[in-house]
Structure formats: C-alpha cells, structure tokens
Symmetry: C2
DNA sequence: GAGCAACGAGTCATAAAACACCCCTAATGT
DNA sequence: ACATTAGGGGTGTTTTATGACTCGTTGCTC
C-alpha cells in the first residue's frame, strides 16, 4: 500500500469505504472516553498526525497503528472476530470439498509424531 | 509505523501477537479456498511478497493490504465488528458519565435544524 | 466574546514499505 | 523418482509513511 502501489488506483470502493468506517469508529470511541488526539497518540507511541490519518480513514496507515489504537481503547478483543476460522462459512465449505470422496484403507499406517 | 517509528520499539506484546494471529487466519482462509499466494496477491493488486508479509504478521503492513485481503476472501463483513459503537461497553458507560447530573430547563429552546 | 485547547492540514527530512527482480528449498502431483 | 509449484528470503530502487514542526480554523468553556 505504500508507494504508488498497485492497489492505490484499483482499490475496490468497499475497501476505502470500510477504512473510513473504521476511522470514524475509532474517533467515536476516543471521544466517548474523553481523550484528545494528542493524548491518545502519545499512548500509542505515534504522532498526532498519524492518529489523525487513521481516523480519517487513510488506507496507507500501517496495521500496527490500528492495533495500537484498539489496544489503547481497550478494544483489542474485537480483532479476534477478524477472519475467525470457525466463522468462515465459505472457507469451511471449501475445505470440505477438498476432502477425498472415498477413503482407501492405508497400506502403511501414518502415525502421529510424538 | 513506517520509519524507525515511535511505536516500533515500544509496541505492547499483545499488538504483535494479535498481528501474528491475523496473519495466520488470512493464511488459513486462503488455503481453505485453494488459492496460492501469487494468485491472491494478483487479485489484491499487490506483490506476493507484500501478502507474505501480511501472513507473517508484520505490523508495518498497511491497512489497505489487510482490507484488500479480506475483500478477496469475501470476509470484509468481519470488519463491521471492529470497534462497533453499539458493542463498546466501556465507551457507552463513559459516554453516560459525561451527561449532566441534573437537567436545567432551558431558557432558550434548542431546535433541531431542518 | 474572549481565550484556549483540539484538530485538520502543510512542509521538510528520513527511514522504510512496496515493487521487481533474483535464488533456493520444500511440498505437491504425476 | 521427477517435474512443478509454492513460498520464504535476499538485493536494489522508487515512492511514501512517519516524525517534527508549524499555521489556521473550529469549537469548547468560562
């Protein structure tokens, strides 16, 4: 995403939209906690401007900045919902589709290594 | 997060851990869908190496890359759970705490603007 | 309405993210 | 066993994110 970046031009609308949404949410969460940008940026170990860029939904901000923000806000738990394997319906189905249709009795027994 | 970055050195352990977790999940979701890094990177408009860095949990990867990945995987909906205002228990409580303890009858009536 | 803090935005310098190659090893399938 | 693909890791180059500083505006609070 840095650089002129292949994506920059071709980014689907939903990506930038989602980014704006995330920024707004972080901004809201911060205000609810009555913390200024300056204060929060300090706790995140970044500059106020970087936090500002995050809240403004710039896609070029690095992931560490987002995670730090969530951490400062006490919202890091929310990350556990991102691409959660057990909730990935499509993924689970496709995984199933990869399984062999019939199971042949193995000639050489595969043993777990322990 | 780019640069020597204030955070880089001081990042709390949970941040880097969460980043690793996200990377693993994206890797898993990709494999479930039987897509190679090369193929997925192309769809994301980034290089294979950048995707590799994301899957390896590097905090310096930009947010756009993550969002693009989720988009390609069809998991962009998961982002809606990030810092969701209605689920922010702490935030809602602190917001309440900001409300005045008593309501004085307004002398000048505040009207909604429409 | 005056003063002040918050915040967006601009500039400059610099470290580094992303690209574009490369090679190499280890799975994977035939 | 062999060919092929996947994916990690390295190098060099270009673009840019971040930090440090500043200015100007907005919007509180008194």
């Amino acid at each position: 995403m840095t650089r002129c970046s292949l994506s920059k031009s071709a980014l689907p609308a939903t990506v930038t939209e989602n980014m704006v949404r995330i920024g707004e949410r972080i901004c809201l969460a911060r205000k609810r906690r009555s913390i200024s940008q300056a204060e929060m940026a300090t706790r995140m170990f970044v500059t106020r401007k970087t936090l500002s860029r995050l809240e403004n939904g710039e896609t070029s901000v690095s992931l560490g900045v987002l995670l730090s923000a969530l951490w400062v806000l006490g919202l890091e738990r929310d990350i556990l919902d991102l691409a959660a394997p057990e909730k990935d319906i499509v993924g689970l189905q496709m995984e199933k589709a990869l399984l062999p249709k019939r199971i042949h009795t193995a000639k050489t027994i595969i043993e777990p290594d322990f």
